[in-house]
C-alpha cells in the first residue's frame, strides 16, 4: 500500500489505492483544511494567506456587483409601487383576425370568446351563431359559424334565444365575434381567460396582433368587458 505514491499515475479508480483507509495520520487530505500556501481554490478561503491576485480581483468584482445590486434594489423600490398587471384584449380594437387561436403559447389558446349577456339581443337569427344563409335556423353543425360547436343555443320565450359559450370547446378563433360585431350587437368578444393564461412576460399573441389590441391591465381588474353604457 505504501509503495504507491499519491501523485503517481493511478488508473484504478478505486479509493483503496494511495494512502486511503490506513490508520496513518493524514494531515492534509481532509477537504476543508489546507496549508496556507495552497492556491486560492479551496472551498473555504485560507484566512492566513495574503490575498492572491485572483482573490483580489474576485473581491473587487463582488464588491462592484453588490454595488450594482444596490442600484437594482432601487429599481425594485420603484417597480414595487406599480400595480401588478396582466394581459387583456381591448375589444374595441380587436378585429377578430383568428391569430388569437393560433399564436398563444398554450394550446388551446388562453383566449376565449365571452358572451356579455347584458348587451346581447337574444336574436333568433344570431349572426354570431349561424352561417350566412343557413339551411335552416336549427342547431345542425353545418349551419353554425363556430368550427368547434362551442356555442350553445337555448330557446327562451319566443322569439328570444340565449347563446352560451362552452369555454372547453372554444378555441378563440373569433369567427362568431366577427358575425356578432358586424351584424349584431357585438355581445361576443374575445378575452384572455385568466384561469388559463400564464401571463407570459410578453404575450406571444400581442406580438402578432395586427390591431395592437393587447394591453396590460391592472391585475385587480383583469377583464375589459363591454357594458350597455359603453356600447352607446
Amino acid at each position: 500500500m505504501a509503495d504507491q505514491h499519491p501523485s503517481s499515475q493511478c488508473g484504478c479508480g478505486s479509493g483503496a489505492c494511495g494512502n486511503g483507509g490506513s490508520a496513518k495520520p493524514s494531515p492534509a487530505s481532509i477537504q476543508f483544511k489546507k496549508p496556507a500556501s495552497a492556491p486560492a481554490k479551496s472551498a473555504v478561503p485560507a484566512a492566513a494567506a495574503p490575498p492572491s491576485r485572483r482573490q483580489f480581483v474576485g473581491g473587487a468584482l463582488r464588491g462592484a456587483f453588490l454595488f450594482v445590486l444596490g442600484a437594482a434594489t432601487s429599481l425594485i423600490a420603484r417597480v414595487s409601487q406599480k400595480e401588478r398587471t396582466v394581459w387583456q384584449i381591448d375589444p374595441t380594437k380587436c378585429i377578430a383576425c383568428t391569430n388569437c387561436a393560433n399564436h398563444c403559447v398554450l394550446t388551446p389558446s388562453a383566449v376565449k370568446c365571452v358572451q356579455q349577456y347584458p348587451i346581447c339581443g337574444y336574436c333568433k337569427l344570431c349572426t354570431g351563431y349561424f352561417e350566412p344563409e343557413p339551411n335552416a335556423l336549427n342547431t345542425a353543425a353545418e349551419n353554425q359559424v363556430c368550427p368547434t360547436g362551442a356555442i350553445e343555443r337555448r330557446a327562451l320565450e319566443d322569439p328570444y334565444y340565449e347563446y352560451n359559450i362552452d369555454e372547453e370547446l372554444c378555441i378563440g378563433c373569433g369567427k362568431c365575434v366577427v358575425g356578432c360585431v358586424v351584424f349584431g350587437n357585438g355581445s361576443f368578444s374575445l378575452q384572455i381567460r385568466h384561469d388559463r393564461c400564464v401571463n407570459c412576460n410578453e404575450c406571444a399573441i400581442a406580438m402578432v396582433c395586427p390591431a395592437d389590441a393587447f394591453v396590460r391591465v391592472p391585475a385587480s381588474q383583469p377583464y375589459l368587458l363591454k357594458t350597455r353604457e359603453k356600447q352607446g
Binding site: S7, S8, Q9, C10, G11, G13, G18, G20, S26, S29, I30, Q31, P35, P39, A43, V44, P45, G58, R62, F65, A72, L75, V79, R84, V86, P91, T92, I95, C97, T98, V105, L106, Y122, P132, L156, E157, E162, N164, K175, V178, V181, G184, N185, G186, H194, D195, V198, N199, C200, N201, E202, A204, M207, V208, P210, A211, D212, P222, Y223, R228
Partner: protein, 455 residues
C-alpha cells in the same frame, strides 16, 4: 422565421366573407375597410325586457388571475432550492443530494409552474423595465433575476446545478456524452454572449422576447405548444443525449452571465487540488467538458508577458471595431422585426402604390385615423435604436471574443485536474468519481461516528 413575419399572409376573415352573398360582401368589405369592428357594434337589436322573475341572466364569468401571494411562494421556493443546492454542492459534496434537488426543481419550476417565471427570461423583463418606464416588472421576476446571480457570485453555479428547470431537463437526459474538442468548446462558448446581447437589444427596443420565443423546453413543461417549440425541444433533448447540456453550454444567455460571475465566486466546486492523483477520472466523468486538464509542461510555462497583453488588447479593439461596423449594418434588417417599423414600411408601400392591397395590420391602423407621419417618426426612432444597438451588440461580441483570447493566454497555471469554474455547472458528478474525494468523505464519516473506545 419570427412568427411576426407571418401575419400579413393569411387572412381568414376574407374566407368567411367569400361565402356571403355578393352584395353583402361589397357592403361588408366597405364597412370593415373603413372602420374598426367595434365602432359598428351597436345596439341594433335592443336587448329584450324579460318579465321579472321569468329569466335570470347568466353572469359573464371572470376567473381571476393567479394570486399575488403565489409569487411570494415562487420566490420562497427559489430561495429554498438555491440554498439546498448550494448545501449539496459545497458542504455535502454529494451528487445524490444535488440530483434530488434537481428533480424537485424540474417538477416545480418546470411542470407545475410550466417554465414561466424563469431566471433566463427575466433578463428581458429587467431590460424592458430599464428602457420602458411604463413597464411594471413584477418584483418576483426581479428577484428571479437577481437571486441566482448573487448565489453564483458567492457559491458558483449552484443555480444551474439543481434549480434551473431547463438545466435539469437536459441534465437528466444526458446519456452517453461525448467530449468535444477544446477549441470547439471555446468557439461555441461565444454564442451565449451573442444571444444575450441580441436578447437585450430586442427587449430594450420592445421588439420581441426572443429568449421566451426560442425557449426549447416550455412546450414540454406545458405539455403542448407550437410545432416549432416542440421540434426545438425534441431536437435539444436528442442532442443532449450525446452532448451534455447543449442549451446551457452553447446558448443560454443567463448561463453566459453566470459563467462570468462563477469565475470569481468566493466558494466554488473543488476536487482535491492538493493531492490530485491525476487519474483523470473526473475528466472522464464530467459530461460537460468542464474539467480543465493540467498544463503540459511539468514546471508551469512562464506567464506570458506584457507584450502579449498589448498585442491581444489591440486585437480585441480591432475585433470590437469590426463587430461594431458589422452590427451597425445589421441594425437595419434587424429593425424590420419590430412591429412599428414593419407597419410603417407597409403603410409607406401602400401609400406609394407599391403594394395594392391591404393587410390586417394596415387596415386596423388606418381605421384608427392617425396621421402617417407620426407612425413614420416612431419607426425612424426605433430604427435609430436598432442601428445604435446593433453597433453596441457587435462591439460587445468583439469584446467577448477578445476577452476569451486574453483569458486563454493568461489562464492561471495549474498542474492538476480541476473544474473550469466558468463552465462547471456544479452538477457534482465528479464528486462521486474522484477517488480522493471519496476517501475524504469516508474519513469524515468515520470521524463523525461515536467511538466506543475513546478515552
Amino acid at each position: 422565421m419570427n412568427a411576426r413575419g407571418q401575419f400579413p399572409i393569411h387572412n381568414l376573415q376574407f374566407s368567411i366573407l367569400n361565402s356571403l352573398a355578393p352584395l353583402l360582401r361589397v357592403l361588408l368589405l366597405l364597412v370593415v375597410l373603413l372602420s374598426p369592428l367595434a365602432t359598428f357594434a351597436a345596439e341594433r337589436f335592443p336587448p329584450p325586457e324579460f318579465e321579472p322573475g321569468t329569466y335570470t341572466m347568466p353572469p359573464t364569468t371572470t376567473p381571476p388571475p393567479r394570486l399575488a401571494v403565489m409569487e411570494i411562494v415562487d420566490v420562497a421556493v427559489l430561495l429554498g432550492a438555491l440554498s439546498l443546492s448550494t448545501y449539496g454542492v459545497l458542504v455535502k459534496r454529494s451528487r445524490r443530494h444535488v440530483f434530488w434537488v434537481m428533480v424537485f426543481s424540474l417538477l416545480y419550476f418546470g411542470f407545475v409552474r410550466q417554465g414561466c417565471v424563469c431566471s433566463i427570461g427575466s433578463i428581458q423583463d429587467v431590460t424592458l423595465a430599464l428602457f420602458d418606464k411604463s413597464y411594471a416588472v413584477p418584483v418576483s421576476v426581479l428577484l428571479f433575476f437577481l437571486l441566482p446571480l448573487v448565489f453564483t457570485l458567492f457559491f458558483g453555479r449552484s443555480f444551474c446545478a439543481a434549480v434551473c428547470p431547463l438545466g435539469a431537463a437536459q441534465d437528466i437526459v444526458t446519456w452517453k456524452p461525448i467530449k468535444l474538442p477544446v477549441w470547439l468548446e471555446h468557439a461555441l462558448g461565444v454564442i451565449p454572449f451573442l444571444y444575450l446581447g441580441a436578447a437585450v437589444l430586442f427587449a430594450a427596443t420592445g421588439t420581441a422576447f426572443v429568449i421566451c420565443e426560442w425557449d426549447p423546453f416550455v412546450a414540454f413543461f406545458r405539455r403542448g405548444g407550437s410545432f416549432k417549440m416542440l421540434a426545438l425541444g425534441a431536437g435539444f433533448l436528442a442532442v443532449g443525449l450525446f452532448i451534455g447540456r447543449p442549451y446551457c453550454r452553447f446558448l443560454c444567455p443567463y448561463g453566459a452571465i453566470l459563467s462570468v460571475l462563477s469565475r470569481f465566486a468566493k466558494w466554488n466546486v473543488t476536487l482535491t487540488p492538493d493531492d490530485c492523483l491525476k487519474c483523470q477520472i473526473c475528466d472522464v466523468a464530467c459530461p460537460f467538458g468542464a474539467i480543465a486538464e493540467p498544463d503540459e509542461a511539468a514546471p508551469p510555462k512562464p506567464r506570458p508577458g506584457f507584450g502579449r497583453l498589448v498585442v491581444l488588447g489591440t486585437l480585441t479593439l480591432l475585433l470590437m471595431a469590426g463587430g461594431a461596423w458589422l452590427g451597425g449594418r445589421l441594425g437595419l434588417p434587424m429593425s424590420k422585426l419590430n412591429r412599428t417599423v414593419s407597419l410603417a414600411e407597409r403603410i409607406a408601400a401602400e401609400d406609394s402604390g407599391a403594394i395594392k392591397d391591404v393587410n390586417d395590420a394596415s387596415k386596423a391602423w388606418r381605421a384608427l385615423g392617425k396621421p402617417a407621419h407620426e407612425l413614420h417618426a416612431e419607426a425612424l426612432r426605433v430604427r435609430g435604436q436598432f442601428r445604435f444597438g446593433g453597433l453596441l451588440l457587435g462591439a460587445f461580441v468583439g469584446l467577448v471574443i477578445g476577452a476569451k483570447l486574453i483569458g486563454l493566454a493568461f489562464a492561471h497555471p495549474h498542474d492538476v485536474y480541476e473544474p473550469n469554474l466558468a463552465n462547471c455547472v456544479a452538477c457534482g458528478r465528479c464528486y462521486s468519481y474522484c477517488p480522493k474525494v471519496l476517501v475524504a468523505a469516508k474519513r469524515s464519516e468515520k470521524k463523525e461516528m461515536p467511538r466506543p473506545t475513546a478515552a
